[in-house]
């Protein structure tokens, strides 16, 4: 049955339709037809094969804007559409696709863009349904114009877009959109983060703004996401800012459609602060790790589960590289007891626990480790684990054992020794107290070893002992406590020697001499100190007595104005008084103990040869010897001091010579005075001679008669004058000689002389006098010494003086005897007379300057008193000896009256001597 459908636009228009076959069908048809005609939606049909529209309701006509249904029926769906659909597909192709799908599946609902007759495009929802009727299959289409809807949607989108835009703009995080690898959009925050403005960035390739470190990662993620492959939801990367710095960001991105095309939109969160903190912590941790690594000790960290969480390299070296993660028990096999000690740590104890345990090293060997363990707590105070450091003390322990063994041995040795000794360790605890010390102090080892009561043995109140001060290295305190009583020993480092009085030992106290020294181990580490003591009370008493005596002697010696020194038989000085120090320039400490030649330099003034024979002579010849005249002492600084005096032997109780004492004094002043005197005398002599020459010569002229003959009386007078002047001249000569003798500057020029001849010459001069007094001359010359080495002039002076004295003081008919002989090894000369003799009480002064014995004045009022002095000085100065024997006849039997002068000189004769002047 054909059905007539009415068009929407004209309900009156009828459409030829097929008749309805049945009545129910007719009903249906009518219903459909009214629906068809009245529906506001565009309803139409299309039939294969070309799918042209076969019907269309008035709504359809109105929708497409065709003139009428007829026009409408000339179209296919795609012709009432633009050439391309929004997704880019050709309308004809897509339409056929849709149609096919509807035919296959029975219906198809999809969006479509149609085009009206006037060319306007509009969005539509299309519902295609397959209809079967009378064996015919065709499609029923319902098209709904959704343009308005779309408009609203757009509007909504726009307004929500607006909202989003605002949101995006004010978002703290950076937002970016990348399409085709180019940045399409960035928000304010992103621009700020990146340090760029919009212009700089937009349109540019995003890779350029990624820091090199992150380029690979970011590019990879971008590609993966676009492809639809698995990509990271969020990841960390670094952006490259405009100023070249980098900024850490957390990127999370997703695919969106941007302007119709797929694009990546992402959020970049600034995580630079967090990253910085992270890095700091990392470096801190790293530092700590490095430190921990550098410590040679083993350092291990365990957690609450008692598993090792960290070990430094030494730890790994010991336990093996795989120690981290292992359980602690594993390494404590067989050491349960020790392991238990560590338990308190995990309970929160804050103590450092020390344990020693044997553990197996990774090479299998068992080693003794010393552990120091501490808890690790978090900020809240909860125990998170423990940290321990360990040291391998296997060798140390072995050494200790050995030491202990040897200590025992040493102790045994010490105990048998008589030396009082005690030892303290670094903590001032007594570790050893010898038997001898027990006896000395009355304190037993049992009482004191292990304590710090060493002071009790010596002092009433507590104070450090020398050993204590040494341990403390308080060297300045040593000088405080033992001021003036201590000495640092040179042989041993850091060792001192003290002698001190301990009033609290014994009843009256004791003098102890003790040495303190540090004890070191092989490495040089101080492990203790020891003191070795000696009771020197008795010794000390004796010393004090000696010192007392010594002080007395010293006081005496020091108060003497002379320099005194004494030496032993070998010439080593044992005594040196203050004056000696002054004159020599050496301190007694420097002189005592050394040979006198080291500090005393006596030389001859004339030739600066040493002049020390007198010392040795005193010792060997057992007599007092005098320093040679004009001995000079060379002081330490080189200054020469003229000295004089003597040396005498020192004998012990047995009478044996054990040394020599020498006394001398500075004669500079005396010499100067003398020198002044003699110089004066020299000059005076010269001055005196001048007028004397005049007197002499004028007298001579007168007496010669050249100026007229003298009457006998005149002759007599003149003669008197002449004689007087002659005497004056002699005196002046004598004075001059004396001055030379004093100065020791006369020369001695020995030559082989015949003594007899010199005597003869002298006697010649005295002939008148001898004949007048009728004196008997006797001479005797031993043949082998008749010729001797002597200065003829000096020898002449000697004989002149002695003989003239003899002649002068021997009364008429007396005898004068000259003997030349030997005495032991010496040459002996004697001149004896039977004259008046020298009074006993004046014998000592004979030979002193200008001394004349009382009994001479009547015989010769004009004598100079210099004659014997001159002889004595000459003989002494030429190496000989001079003495006399005399008797005035008052005490001795008569007939023995007279004087004999003796001279000895060495066989070698007079010693040659250089000088300044010859004696007259």
């Amino acid at each position: 049955m054909k059905t007539v459908w009415r068009s929407m636009t004209d309900p009156q228009t009828s459409i030829i339709t097929h008749d309805v076959v049945t009545s129910s069908n007719e009903e249906k048809d009518i219903r459909y037809r009214s629906l068809f005609l009245a529906s506001r939606d565009a309803v139409m049909t299309l039939e294969p094969p070309d799918w042209k529209f076969t019907s269309g309701n008035p709504a359809t006509i109105a929708l497409f804007g065709t003139k009428d249904e007829k026009e409408f029926l000339s179209y296919e769906p795609w012709r009432l559409s633009p050439e391309y659909q929004p997704d880019g597909k050709k309308s004809i192709d897509k339409a056929k696709e849709m149609i096919e799908k509807a035919m296959k599946e029975g219906s198809n609902f999809f969006e479509w863009t149609h085009r009206r007759i006037n060319g306007d495009d509009f969005y539509a929802d299309v519902l295609l349904s397959r209809v079967e009727e009378d064996g015919k299959i065709f499609l029923h289409a319902l098209i709904r114009d959704i343009s308005k809807q779309k408009e609203m949607e757009k509007e909504l989108l726009r307004s929500s877009e607006e909202k989003y835009r605002l949101l995006i703009e004010h978002l703290h995080d950076g937002i970016f959109i990348i399409k085709d690898e180019k940045i399409q959009f960035i928000n304010e925050s992103f621009a700020r983060m990146a340090g760029y403005t919009g212009e700089d960035i937009l349109g540019k390739n995003f890779i350029g703004f990624i820091a090199p470190s992150s380029k690979k990662l970011v590019a990879e993620q971008y590609r993966k996401r676009l492809k639809g492959e698995h990509s990271l939801d969020e990841y960390e990367a670094q952006l490259l800012r405009k100023d070249g710095t980098v900024i850490d960001v957390l990127i999370s991105a997703g695919i969106i459609t941007y302007q119709g095309k797929p694009a990546t939109m992402g959020i970049a969160k600034d995580i630079s602060a967090r990253k910085k903190a992270e890095r700091e912590i990392y470096s801190l941790t790293n530092k700590q790790r490095t430190i921990l690594q550098a410590i040679p000790d083993i350092i291990m960290e365990v957690n609450n589960q008692k598993k090792y969480t960290w070990a430094n390299q030494p730890g790994k070296d010991f336990f093996g590289e795989d120690v981290v993660g292992k359980e602690v028990d594993f390494y404590f096999e067989g050491e349960q007891k020790t392991y238990e000690k560590v338990e308190p740590l995990f309970k929160g104890s804050d103590d450092t626990i020390y344990i020693e345990s044997w553990q197996r090293r990774k090479d299998g060997k068992k080693r003794l480790l010393a552990w120091w363990c501490r808890t690790i707590k978090d900020e809240k105070g909860n125990v998170t684990g423990a940290l321990s450091s360990a040291r391998d003390i296997t060798e140390q322990k072995e050494m200790h054992t050995l030491l202990r063994e040897s200590e025992q041995k040493l102790k045994a040795i010490f105990d048998s020794s008589p030396i009082a000794k005690f030892v303290i360790d670094q903590n001032h605890t007594v570790t050893y107290w010898s038997k001898a010390l027990e006896e000395l102090t009355g304190i037993t080892a049992k009482e004191i070893v292990g304590t710090q009561y060493q002071w009790k043995a010596f002092y009433k109140t507590e104070r450090p002992c020398l050993a204590d001060l040494l341990i403390e290295r308080s060297f300045d305190k040593i000088s405080q406590f033992y001021h003036g009583k201590y000495r640092k020993l040179k042989l041993l480092e850091d060792s001192y020697e003290v002698t001190d009085f301990f009033p609290d030992l014994n009843k009256n106290g004791k003098w102890l001499h003790f040495t303190g020294a540090l004890i070191r181990d092989l490495n040089g580490t101080i492990i203790g100190a020891e003191e070795t003591l000696e009771d020197v009370t008795e010794h000390r008493k004796m010393e004090e007595k000696i010192i007392e005596d010594k002080s007395k002697d010293e006081a005496i010696l020091d108060s003497i104005g002379d320099a005194v020194f004494a030496c032993d038989k070998d010439g080593n000085i044992v005594l040196f008084n203050r004056m000696a120090e002054q004159l020599t320039g050496f301190a007694d400490k420097e002189a005592i103990g050394h040979h006198y030649s080291q500090t005393l330099q006596f030389i001859k003034e004339s030739d600066e040869t040493p002049s020390i024979d007198f010392i040795a002579q005193a010792i060997t010849e057992n007599r007092i010897t005098e320093m040679a005249n004009h001995t000079v002492l060379v002081r330490r600084d080189g200054v020469k001091i003229p000295v004089a005096d003597s040396a005498a032997p020192i004998k012990n109780v047995k009478g044996e010579i054990i040394g020599c004492v020498v006394v001398f004094h500075d004669v500079t002043h005396e010499r100067e005075v003398d020198k002044a005197k003699t110089e004066f005398v020299s000059l005076a002599s010269h001055q005196l001679r001048t007028p004397l020459s005049a007197i002499n010569w004028y007298s001579e002229l007168l007496l010669s008669g050249d100026n007229g003959t003298l009457t006998p009386k005149q002759r007599q007078c003149t003669e008197g004058v002449r004689q007087a002047s002659m005497r004056m001249i002699n005196l002046v000569n004598a004075l001059l000689n004396v001055s030379r003798l004093e100065l020791g500057t006369f020369t001695i020029e020995p030559e082989l002389v015949c003594v007899q001849e010199i005597v003869k010459t002298c006697l010649e001069e005295l002939k008148p006098e001898i004949e007048k007094k009728n004196l008997i001359m006797r001479e005797s010359y031993e043949s082998d010494v008749s010729r001797i080495q002597a200065d003829p002039k000096l020898l002449a002076i000697i004989f002149q003086n002695l003989l003239s004295n003899a002649v002068k003081y021997t009364p008429k008919n007396g005898t004068i005897q000259v003997i030349l002989g030997k005495k032991n090894d010496d040459i002996l000369i004697s001149v004896s007379d039977t004259g008046i003799g020298i009074p006993e009480n004046q014998k000592e002064r004979i030979g002193t300057k200008m001394f004349r014995a009382d009994n001479t004045h009547t015989i010769d009022p004009d004598g100079t008193g210099l004659g014997i002095y001159i002889v004595k000085e000459i003989v002494k100065g030429s190496g000989g000896n001079f003495w006399f024997e005399s008797s005035t006849g008052e005490s001795l039997p008569a007939g023995r009256q007279g004087t004999t002068f003796y001279i000895t000189m060495p066989k070698s004769g007079m010693k040659k001597k250089g000088g300044v002047r010859k004696l007259i």
Binding site: H686, R689, A694, W697, E700, N707, V732, N733, L736
Partner: protein, 125 residues
């Protein structure tokens, strides 16, 4: 006549020496110091010079040294006639060619004359 030069600062002594030598037949010249003596010696070339030591202006030893530098002076006969006992001066004069060092007070006048005659090789007239 032989010439003798007496170099002596002491007037009295000089006078008595002059007296003696004149009496003895010498031509006598005198000088009162070493300077004068030197000049005179070089001028008159005496046969003998009696030379004192201690004199003002120039002492005898200095004069002697200068004298010996002269061609004639080198060989002049000089006798030291002094009151100064000095080994040193004696040695120096000896080194300067003077053989005789005479102490005035030890010598008689006539012995001095004898010595001079000896020196210049003139026998007693």
């Amino acid at each position: 006549m032989k010439k003798v030069l007496i170099i002596e600062d002491e007037q009295t002594l000089s006078a008595v020496l002059v007296d003696k030598f004149v009496k003895d037949g010498f031509e006598v010249f005198t000088a009162k110091d070493g300077r004068e003596g030197l000049d005179m010696a070089l001028k008159i070339h005496p046969d003998c010079i009696l030379l004192d030591i201690l004199m003002p202006v120039m002492d005898g030893i200095t004069m002697l040294g200068l004298l010996r530098k002269d061609a004639w002076g080198k060989h002049a006969h000089v006798l030291m006639l002094t009151n100064l006992s000095s080994t040193e001066k004696e040695m120096t004069s000896h080194a300067l060619g003077v053989e005789d060092y005479m102490i005035k007070t030890d010598w008689k006048l006539e012995d001095v004359v004898k010595k001079v005659r000896e020196k210049i090789g003139v026998a007693y007239e």
